[in-house]
Symmetry: C2
């Protein structure tokens, strides 16, 4: 508006125009007591008129604290999107700002994390981090740090995850009850939670006397991985080997890929093969028949992550904590009783 240029207006501008001191404007914008109703309204109106917005860099510099949470996620991980969606409201509720930084092919987690730190995030929430434990511990020393889905032993890092074992167990019980015996697991490699899921799968097979049937196909938490596993199984079938009657995928993305591969090859899911995912990422309920999956409550995990971060901020001496959320098998359309075949 001013001919003076496009400089962004500051608190001083608002103060001058409203005929009060800078300090009072500050008080008003922080919602503190100490200003009369009339002045408050007038100042806010003036601020609005000249388009004033608080400068969070200055604000952040002035009060020692930034009240900002940094969230590191990985591009293309749909479950991360679910988590992010849950992080915003909880952070807002507690009066914290949220900054996002993505890891991607070509952009390491370290780079993403450093960016957050240099922007003065007080706490880091790492979604399924893949970096070395030593590095993550280092982050934990520098800021309140919460890891979601990935356990980081012996590190100053809080940990939020679902009870992977329980989830897998539920899925396996469900399948066994429905007559499945030839059940394969596509694992998630070194992805978050996959070690536990793998272990639980093996334990479940053992418990039902199916050790000889147990089979883990090495995979990842990606669609590619599911497709590849599907191709592998189909190739085996073409060589005369029987398909498994059920597949427990490492996560939903993997299940999704597998599903595509099987369905496109004319395999009927769930008639011929049952498929179970893991995550209940927002896509899972979309498919016409829906993906049977183990639900991790993203919103709740997000809430815990934010609270852990904030509580650690308020009390840095806290010992690293762990939140274990109970996952829950969500039965949809990709599972059925085992096909009647001779074993």
């Amino acid at each position: 508006m001013d001919a003076s240029g496009k400089q962004r207006p500051t608190m001083a501008d608002v103060a001058a125009k409203a005929g009060v001191s800078r300090a009072l404007v500050s008080i008003i914008f922080r919602g503190q007591p100490g200003a009369s109703e009339g002045t408050r309204e007038r100042v806010l109106r003036v601020a609005d008129e000249i388009g004033y917005r608080p400068d969070s860099a200055a604000r952040l510099l002035a009060r020692g604290r930034s009240r900002t949470l940094g969230v590191m996620f990985t591009v293309h991980q749909t479950f991360h999107a679910d988590l992010i969606q849950g992080i915003y409201p909880e952070a807002e509720r507690l009066g914290y700002d949220v900054l996002l930084s993505a890891a991607a092919p070509g952009r390491s987690e370290a780079k993403a994390a450093e960016a957050l730190l240099s922007h003065r995030c007080e706490a880091l929430i790492l979604l399924g981090p893949d970096a070395e434990a030593a590095y993550l511990d280092g982050l934990g020393q520098r800021a309140a740090t919460v890891s979601v889905s990935r356990r980081v032993p012996h590190a100053r890092v809080d940990f939020v995850h679902s009870a992977e074992g329980k989830g897998v167990r539920q899925a396996m019980e469900y399948l066994v009850e429905r007559g499945h015996r030839r059940m394969v697991h596509i694992d998630g490699g070194r992805g978050p939670g996959s070690a536990e899921r793998r272990r639980a799968y093996r334990a479940a097979m053992r418990r039902h006397g199916l050790e000889s049937e147990a089979r883990v196909i090495a995979g990842e938490h990606t669609e590619e991985s599911g497709i590849e596993a599907g191709r592998l199984l189909l190739a085996e079938r073409n060589r005369g080997q029987a398909l498994p009657t059920a597949v427990l995928a490492g996560n939903d993305r993997c299940a999704w890929g597998l599903l595509m591969a099987l369905t496109r090859a004319g395999v009927d899911v769930p008639r011929d093969v049952s498929v179970v995912g893991y995550d209940d990422s927002h896509l899972s309920h979309l498919m016409p028949i829906g993906l049977t999956t183990v639900r991790q409550d993203a919103a709740l995990m997000a809430q815990y992550a934010v609270r852990f971060a904030v509580e650690r901020l308020e009390n840095p001496e806290l010992e690293p904590r762990e939140a274990v959320l109970d996952p829950k098998l969500v039965v949809r359309g990709t599972t059925d009783t085992a096909p009647k075949t001779l074993t």
Copy 2:
């Protein structure tokens, strides 16, 4: 390290410990000339020892400029993930920092954008914004703003998109050449680019004398939408109506949903129905047979977006510009010649 507490070390600490002035440390950290090689090394070593990291809030406050680009995206839009991945390297190349802010159910685009602005982003890159043109124009007045995929007429906003018309035309030509006549379009509602795509579809149908066959099913750029359209078509078939021989989806997510719906119902793609997507988001090549789609080069679009933002920053007087990238039909496995049926 110090018993004095966990205060994060500042430039003054480095200066004191290295026995030089704060100013010199600043010079060194900015990589400016004016310090001897020896001092430079020593200071950097000391800084490393005490774990000093520049505080970008203070830095940003001190120099007028933040050299930070704010990127607003929508959670769960896979194509946005592709774009983000492309934005980082280009921004880094030009010496800019990147901050991300997500719009999500429950978090409006305005909120996301304001967050970026208050963190002093100098420029905004909006990925497929959905807000009102007037609001976006407002943003354009306040910061260098680039919209990707969504045209914002009469607004102070640069625009990067692909030539939607061309892409659709290529797809339609391809289908017509292969004998398709009953071709349906699932549109993207008011999603970015969908108006143009819809227009181009209609024009193509007209050009081939297929006006009477033209049909647009209202949709969105989501998997749900594709599934729903699929259900609609299947329901029609069950009432005796013929399926279309080809479907042009509003984007890849929609195509993906449609594909699931059709395949699950026993419809063979591409034998019975050909499906074409739009975006070439990173999933499209994953499916076993791959999705035939119109490629928008995400990396290139990201580059343009970043450059536009930076150039506008350097020269605010610039008239709003538009980058139109040529899309390209990528033929994969979801399209085939039209089934031989009597029309």
